[in-house]
Symmetry: C2
Subunit: 223 residues, 2 copies
DNA sequence: TTGGGTTCGTTAGAAGTTATAACCCAAGTT
DNA sequence: AACTTGGGTTATAACTTCTAACGAACCCAA
């Protein structure tokens, strides 16, 4: 969005840079299509190159390796999620809206969700900037949790969090809110990931209702 | 276990069959090693064959394709989990023991856990017998949930489950127990999967304590 | 004992994949 | 105008799954 400034000032980038950025974007576009339909493991650089009309190794001018492309996609997914959640709580830090936005975002492209929260590849460690976005997500979640009245009975685990709240940065949320944020995260992820993975199909009940039930329990201020 | 009967009666299988079964087991053994260290996507039939001293395509005498091998591994994982959970509740249907057994089993080999509950590959549908084992797991879970006193306030979602309890088969558990079983499943999976995927690393708190806290909340009979 | 059929293993090869190397050529810079 | 940089190409290496064709060992039966 920042790049779409209505400034009369022409884009400072050279034509080369603009072209390069556009090709990179097109590559990622095709990559997302492949991932959405066949999963991340089936992503083929060769196939993407052919789709773009260029042959094979040309693509390596834009991404050093398959891993680097996937890392970029993960980064993009994180950014998209952070943006979506942040936008959902502009009106006010509302946990219910946050949950709704999360579910909508996840179902929009399940494989994109799994790119972040799915099966990890044993060796992989996300680069620094990605963990930065992750903590931004955590921050908006903490904001919403602080807004909720702390009428939960003091749980032992909340006491533990009191001593281990480094991950919350300098966020002023009380330990109970931290606890609530973790529960919000893990419970909704629990329902969502199993639903998206298809473990509820032909069980008969409505996953949306179950999701709502879990959310209600979260909002009731029990934890 | 059934095959290890102390019968004097010799194994009815021909030597051929015994050899074949042993080679298949050895292949799966190596496959598990690869999966544990590099994830399922890195599983290489060629590498396994070399490790067993035979060259490449020989392996196709034992498994028709890479997919078939992985399917067999998924089957084995399901069986192992079902067995573990069943064994944990022989003394009595205890939700806490069940949760403990689940966590132990998952941490024993995280990639095995993700083979069942991780990122799904878009096209894949598990064969009939595997869904059978899955419902056996659900049955032991339902047993444990029925044993727990139903002091939960009637939730709207429980009413929905009343009308959609096909997945419970002929299990006599009340709808509230069904609800509890689902919550048990999704909440523990939520904590467990995020922990195993490394999303809690360097957050500072102890995942085991959080798992215990979620379990406590489940046991308190709120849902 | 002498076949005949089944099964296991081999090598060869097709069709993919990621990735590197060497080279050409056009665009931008000095 | 010469030079450097960057995008594209083809060729190639080293992988992968998987099929085909062939040889040899084994089992069984006449």
């Amino acid at each position: 969005m920042a790049k779409a400034d209505a400034d009369v000032e022409t884009d400072t980038r050279t034509p080369r840079e603009r072209y390069r950025a556009q090709v990179r974007a097109e590559i990622k576009e095709r990559a997302w299509e492949q991932i959405a339909t066949a999963g991340a493991s089936a992503l083929s650089l060769n196939a993407i190159a052919k789709q773009l009309g260029m042959s094979g190794p040309a693509l390596y001018r834009y991404f050093a390796s398959r891993d680097e492309l996937i890392t970029e996609l993960i980064r993009e997914a994180y950014r998209s999620l952070a943006e979506t959640l942040r936008a959902s709580s502009t009106t006010g830090a509302d946990l219910a809206e946050l949950a709704h936005a999360l579910r909508g975002w996840a179902m929009e492209d399940p494989q994109r969700y799994f790119l972040i929260y799915g099966t990890p590849v044993p060796g992989y460690h996300a680069p620094e900037d990605i963990t930065g976005i992750a903590s931004e997500i955590m921050r908006t979640l903490l904001d919403a949790c602080t807004a909720l009245a702390p009428d939960a009975p003091a749980a032992p685990f909340s006491a533990h969090l009191e001593d281990h709240r480094d991950w919350a940065g300098d966020h002023p949320a009380p330990a109970a809110a931290l606890h609530r944020a973790l529960a919000f995260w893990t419970r909704l992820h629990g329902v969502l990931s199993l639903e998206l993975a298809g473990h509820f199909t032909d069980m008969g009940f409505d996953p949306a209702l179950f999701f709502a039930a879990e959310l209600d329990d979260l909002l009731s201020g029990r934890v």
